[in-house]
């Protein structure tokens, strides 16, 4: 495990070891060349990296597919995470099967990578359900839209697991913009005070919709917020999946060992607009986007894997085909116009529908019956 640092309580005076590395941890440069900028973090297992690559490739294909599905009206909205594959896949691969993921609307690829079926993962964005999967089964909280609010849930759930003697870690994905919300602050503080096994991973993709990072914070880095809570923090190149794996694994291990929460800032970029209905040309230059395309997490990883001898054309082609199949089956799954049962609207407002809800249900049932009469 790397240098994700000694716990707050052991260093009450200056705590400067809680500060992140001055430059983002990375193993690979933008061309996929190995670099010695990983401050003692260990290079992750090659097999795991290959698996990450596979999921990133499939994930990107599904992301493209989802964007296309919005144009066909099959999804109500889609916030693409193209460009953030290393963050999302690397993070999930660092978790154990009983750990919990707390994702946002942006984190479809993380949810897919967690093993949730595509059509379930897309319940929210399809507009048919608020959450298409069973959180208890897949250990993924419902995707959260009210920004940063779920960070508290992650802290509370992981603390609860600790209380039960379970070695579970909760990982909350948060955007750069969301770090400005009060709930982010309260979540870090609660996790620190209760020494909850939580990892807060900020995907700093440079924008909160149109608002650039400079309008969000004047801090040296977002990772510098950790010390104010006594939370160990780190920054990482979010487009280098080796680095994401290494640093998140360290944070998870630390949490699991009872050393408390950590805050990780992953520097990345959202290559697509905020959602399909956003017009990114209003707030950023194509040149900036192009520069980030050059830092593509998949291209870089492929270059390195080939150099390692862990990837060749045959394998690349096989995974490309797998990705096509996944896209095709996603298309198929969403081709049926989803028809949720309107009467189910009343089923889960409370554990048992109240008398007023039963009256409203009866009214809707009658109305639907009357409309379906010839």
């Amino acid at each position: 495990m790397g240098t994700v640092i000694t716990p707050a309580h052991s260093s009450p005076v200056t705590g400067s070891q809680l500060l992140p590395s001055p430059t983002p941890i990375r193993f690979l440069d933008e061309r996929g060349n190995p670099v010695d900028e990983h401050q003692g973090y260990q290079e992750p297992d090659l097999g795991l990296v290959v698996e990450a690559w596979r999921r990133m490739v499939v994930g990107r294909r599904l992301d493209t597919q989802c964007s296309a599905l919005t144009r066909q009206g099959r999804l109500a909205v889609y916030p693409s995470s193209r460009g953030q594959e290393a963050c999302q896949v690397g993070t999930v691969l660092a978790l154990g099967p009983d750990d919990w993921l707390f994702p946002t609307y942006r984190d479809t690829m993380a949810i897919l990578s967690r093993g949730v079926e595509a059509h379930e993962a897309l319940g929210l964005l399809q507009g048919t359900r608020h959450c298409g999967y069973d959180p208890q089964k897949v250990k993924v909280a419902p995707q959260c839209t009210p920004l940063a609010t779920h960070a508290l849930h992650a802290a509370g759930l992981s603390y609860a697991c600790g209380r039960l003697g379970e070695p579970t870690v909760a990982l909350a994905l948060v955007g750069d913009g969301a770090t400005s919300e009060g709930d982010f602050h309260e979540a870090l503080n609660f996790a620190a005070v209760f020494r909850a096994p939580t990892v807060f991973l900020v995907q700093n993709n440079r924008y909160a919709i149109s608002v650039p990072l400079a309008r969000q914070t004047a801090a040296p880095t977002l990772a510098h917020k950790g010390i104010g809570y006594g939370v160990a923090s780190e920054q990482v190149d979010g487009n280098d999946v080796l680095a994401v794996l290494a640093v998140v694994q360290a944070g998870v291990a630390r949490a699991r060992a009872g050393e408390g929460p950590s805050l990780i800032e992953a520097h990345t970029y959202r290559l697509e607009p905020h959602t399909n209905s956003d017009d990114a040309s209003r707030y950023r230059d194509e040149a900036e986007v192009e520069a980030w395309r050059q830092r593509d997490p998949i291209l870089r990883l492929e270059a390195w894997l080939r150099r390692q001898g862990a990837l060749d054309d045959t394998r690349a082609k096989a995974v490309a085909e797998e990705a096509e199949e996944a896209a095709a089956s996603l298309r198929a799954a969403l081709s049926e116009p989803a028809a949720p049962d309107p009467l189910a609207l009343f089923d889960h407002v409370y554990a048992e529908p109240t008398a007023p809800l039963l009256r409203q249900r009866a009214w809707l049932e009658a109305k639907m019956a009357s409309l379906s009469e010839p």
Binding site: K137, P142, Y159, L164, D183, V349, A355
Partner: protein
């Protein structure tokens, strides 16, 4: 029979619930060593353990959000907001998560969470310590809103709220914390949630009250009796859902209704009761439903609060205004 103040009855309810179920945990600001600013959690940390009743950092959204997370892993958190207005920082957590988590997950996640809030005025406290916030919660689907008007209900409704698989906003009428009554408290549960109670039978008019105003309504009925008014007093107990059947059965008998609340009247909870009663009892009503409530002003400084708060006289004035030409 032993006597309890309302605060003691609530304390006992917490203790009994915690002893009955290890998953019940109590937390919030100052609930540990201090026992809460109203002493409702007095002694719980000391006797049941600091992991069962504990202080948190000072952040209400934090408290509620953390409780949501704990409930997701099977705990039954009972959290305290120190005063009504200090629950507002948690409003987003309450409306966007607490009220919706079960619904969002089609029942996969259950949220047995109780948010205790001392509410209402009348204790001589400065601004922000006297708000009546029930309408905000009652208008939010997915929440249950419960408020006891008597010492006995304080115990039984809190026990029932903790047992309830739904999130409950449990509003404690803080000026009644020191009201005292004789009670025999068993280990068992009392009332199910969702039922109003007739506190006093009467045939001339129905006075509908809840929380801090139940005692005031009883006082009005007592005083009214001396003048020959027989007022029926209904204690709603559950604000959401509203037990409209019990209310309407009474109003159909009496033909007249006054709804009492402490909150500013405009768009308050009493409007819902008045609207439903007017709708469901239209042909039984001898007079329009009257509302007695707080003034439509921010909660006043304590030196003036008695002008704001409904008292027995105001209730009786409203009763007197119920078009009595043809009756009595």
């Amino acid at each position: 029979m032993p006597t309890y103040t309302m605060a003691q009855a609530l304390n006992r309810a917490l203790r009994d619930a915690m002893e009955a179920d290890q998953k019940v945990v109590v937390f919030g600001e100052d609930v540990g060593a201090l026992g809460g600013v109203f002493r409702v959690t007095d002694g719980l940390a000391a006797s049941l353990g600091e992991d069962r009743c504990f202080d948190t950092p000072l952040a209400e959204a934090g408290i509620v959000g953390f409780a949501v997370g704990m409930a997701m892993r099977g705990f039954r958190p009972v959290v305290e907001m120190q005063f009504d207005a200090f629950a507002y920082p948690a409003f987003e957590q309450v409306t966007s998560h607490v009220a919706k988590l079960r619904n969002r997950t089609a029942g996969a996640l259950s949220l047995p969470l109780v948010i205790r809030i001392p509410y209402g005025g009348g204790i001589g406290a400065v601004e922000h310590h006297g708000d009546s916030s029930e309408a905000y919660y009652a208008h939010t689907p997915g929440l249950r809103v419960v408020t006891p008007g008597t010492v006995a209900d304080a115990y039984s409704l809190l026990r029932a709220s903790i047992e309830c698989p739904d999130p409950v906003v449990f509003l404690e009428p803080k000026r009644r914390y020191w009201a005292r009554a004789e009670l025999e408290l068993g280990p068992g549960q009392g009332e199910p949630l969702g039922r109003a109670a007739i506190r006093r039978p009467g045939r001339h008019a129905t006075v509908i009250a809840y929380g801090p105003m139940v005692a005031t309504a009883m006082e009005a009925a007592e005083a009214g009796a001396e003048d020959g008014w027989e007022l029926e007093v209904v204690d709603l107990r559950s604000l959401s859902p509203l037990d409209i059947e019990t209310v309407c059965a009474s109003v159909r008998r009496t033909g007249r209704a006054v709804v009492v609340q402490e909150a500013p009247t405009f768009c308050g909870y009493g409007a819902e009761v008045a609207a439903q009663v007017a709708e469901s009892c239209f042909h039984y009503l001898e007079a329009p439903v009257a509302r007695v409530g707080g003034l439509d002003i921010p909660y006043p400084p304590p030196a003036l609060e008695h002008h704001h708060l409904p008292d027995a006289d105001r209730i009786l004035d409203a009763v007197a205004g119920l078009q009595w030409e043809d009756a009595r």
